[in-house]
Amino acid sequence: MRQAIYIITAFTAGLYFATCQVGYFIHMEFNLSSTFVSYYVVIGLWILGSLAGLFIKLRKLSPLLILGGLATFFLHSFMLHKFPYNMRMLPLYMLFIFLSALYSGYFFRWARRDFKSVKSLFFHENNGFLCGYVIAVGELLLHGQLSQYILPPATAAVHLLLLFVSSRYQSGKSL
């Protein structure tokens, strides 16, 4: 049971990362520019944020990083609507993406302890990412940009819930 919860937690983490990443890209594409800059800024800054997140040594930061990441996600969207097509805002948007991505690195660092095999951790997270990507793009085509406001908080909420449940299985360990 415990292992199943850890697996689902990793899967939902992948779901959250994918929906958040696609959401960032869609908002950039819709309200800033459809040039390659938008796509690669999101990918590059997400990788950079993950890289930084891997080296955060403080514990108990998961809820803070997830909620902070969501806050920057919505702030990013708000600013894009407030200042559409304004490339001078790009550095600020890059900062928002970087901050949201911190949790993806942080998650791997601390989730490793819950998995006997590192293969399993990457496998289940990646499967979640795959599903999240298909859902996010599929929903965009079916229901438009509204879905991009709903999916990241929804997947983050499910992931947070599972983090809370899995923490109850860990004596002496925390979120």
């Binding site: 990788i47 490793r112 990507y133």
Partner: protein
């Protein structure tokens, strides 16, 4: 032990992971371009290919590296050869599948790419993390950040390379990819001698990539369009662009395998989208969104005071300049200015007003292009029209036909939601409808009809006013950022085309 060998000889696990991370990004970029050529290029294709890529990453994560390295080393050799011949092999397989009418075209190709390209890299990360944890006896939390961090660092460099080197020379990017691959193969085979052979091969690849790709593309197009030969190709960061020519000298311009311009059929298209409104509004300041083959520029410029074009992909313009001058008459146009930008960003960041804005884009098969068919974009265009300015668009279907009535997301419905005045022209020669919309249309139906009579097309062509159009819009939806269903309507989304393209073949 492999691990010790690498550590001792200076080819550390760090360099292997770095190369793997970089190649994971490069391979995604490269294979996407290959797939967009051989499959029906659309957003659905991108979704399928990206899905296959992530599935292949998952496959790599679960495969046992050490066991395969010890017992099935030949598998890595096979993968390496398959990757080296990928620009040729992949398209030859696609051609063979078409030729022998093997069903489930898409799924077979997705499966092939899935197995060949990515697992070779994702298989390494879990192995190195676990080796680190065992060999250095460091606690579980520290090996992963180091190993994964190095791989992410490689990925970041991969992104930077695509943005820099990828824009200058795609073959150089592929050569670098094989250089990374050769380092990984040296590790797998525990032999530095491999590097002695692999490094020159990788560098040679810089020069042989284009001939290989050309051979593969030529054979692929031979099955798609048997009467045409491939005469030129270019890779931009957005598109793969090919030019085909038949024995009579007629040319086709293809983007990601889709025909975008031909030297005969699209004459009527350009006349309707650019020539007619421009002729009815002489002396106007004009903007063309999506220049592509450049042929609409000439049609528009004959009557205009000035013509500006905004095009996203500079390579498309370059290849059109090189191969379609004869058709586009671009040398005769003196009042033309080109802007390389995204149309939304261009219009959103300029204060200029235009008398005529022409939307001459590829169909809404990608989200990127579908955004330029939305209510939001038409409203943005409207803000940049002079008081009697006109927006000219094509709809892709003849108005009032059965196909039109079966469509849910239509440009007619969207234009009706944004503009109070418009005319719909059904063009027999172009086999589709065009809409001229405005806040205050400077020409009326009678003037458009008179123009058609003067060109001898009236009778075959029909003109409709809003009163004729509105009764057909009841069950139709406005295309907007909240409704991008048009992408699915234009994509090969039915079950048959998804699993097999044989039905589409001539």
């Amino acid at each position: 032990m492999t691990y010790s060998w690498l550590t001792n000889r200076g080819l550390t696990y760090k360099s292997i992971l770095f190369c793997a991370g970089m190649n994971l990004i490069l391979v995604q970029y490269w294979t996407m371009k290959e797939y967009l050529l051989v499959l029906d290029s659309s957003e659905v294709t991108i979704l399928l290919v990206a899905g296959a890529f992530f599935a292949s990453c998952s496959l790599g994560f679960v495969l046992p590296f050490k066991r395969i390295q010890q017992n099935f080393k030949w598998l890595f050799t096979l993968l390496c050869i398959a990757q080296l011949s990928f620009p040729l092999l992949f398209k030859e397989i696609a051609s063979a599948i078409c030729h022998y009418e093997i069903p489930h075209f898409t799924l077979i190709l997705l499966g092939f790419g899935t197995l060949v390209m990515s697992p070779l890299y994702t298989i390494l990360l879990p192995y190195f993390i676990e080796r680190q944890e065992i060999d250095t006896s460091i606690d579980h939390g520290n090996a992963l950040p180091i190993c994964y961090g190095i791989e992410l660092g490689g990925g970041l460099i991969g992104v930077c390379l695509i943005l820099t080197l990828g824009r200058i020379s795609f073959p150089a990017l592929v050569a670098l990819y094989f250089l990374n691959l050769s380092i990984i193969m040296a590790f797998i085979y525990e032999s530095r001698k491999i590097l002695l052979a692999a490094i020159p091969i990788s560098l040679c690849y810089w020069f042989i990539y284009l001939p290989l790709d050309h051979m593969g593309s030529r054979d692929f197009y031979r099955y798609e369009t048997p009467d045409y030969n491939l005469i030129a190709s270019a890779q931009s960061i957005y598109n793969r662009i090919d030019v085909l020519q038949d024995d009579k000298g007629d040319k086709l311009l293809l983007m990601n395998g889709r025909e975008y311009f031909n030297s005969t059929d699209l004459e009527a298209f350009n006349e309707c989208i650019a020539g007619i409104p421009s002729a009815l509004m002489p002396g106007s300041r004009l903007l063309i969104v999506g220049t592509g083959s450049l042929s609409s520029v000439y049609h528009a410029s004959r009557f205009a005071e000035s013509v500006e074009s905004v095009e996203l992909d500079p390579q498309v313009v370059k290849i059109s300049m090189d191969h379609f001058r004869k058709y586009s008459h671009i040398d005769e146009v003196k009042n033309w200015t080109l802007h390389i930008d995204d149309a939304k960003h261009f219009l959103g960041s300029t204060q200029k007003k235009y008398d005529l804005i022409i939307i001459d884009l590829v169909p809404p098969i990608y989200v990127q292009t579908a955004l330029l068919y939305t209510r939001e974009f038409y409203e943005l265009a409207k803000q940049h029209l002079s008081p009697q300015g006109v927006l000219s668009i094509y709809t892709g279907l003849l108005f009032g036909t059965e196909s039109y009535m079966d469509t849910v997301n239509t440009p007619e419905c969207t234009i009706d939601a944004v503009f109070p005045e418009y005319l719909v022209l059904n063009s027999d020669a172009a086999d589709m409808a065009f809409i001229y919309a405005s806040p205050d249309l400077p020409f009326k139906k009678q003037e458009l009809v008179a123009h058609l009579k003067s060109t001898g097309t009236y009778g075959k062509d029909e003109v409709f006013e809003p009163a004729d159009v509105r009764p057909t819009l009841h069950d139709m939806k406005v295309i907007s950022m909240d409704n991008l269903g048009i992408v699915l309507e234009w994509s090969p989304w039915d079950f048959d085309p998804l699993t097999s393209r044989l039905g589409d073949l001539p």
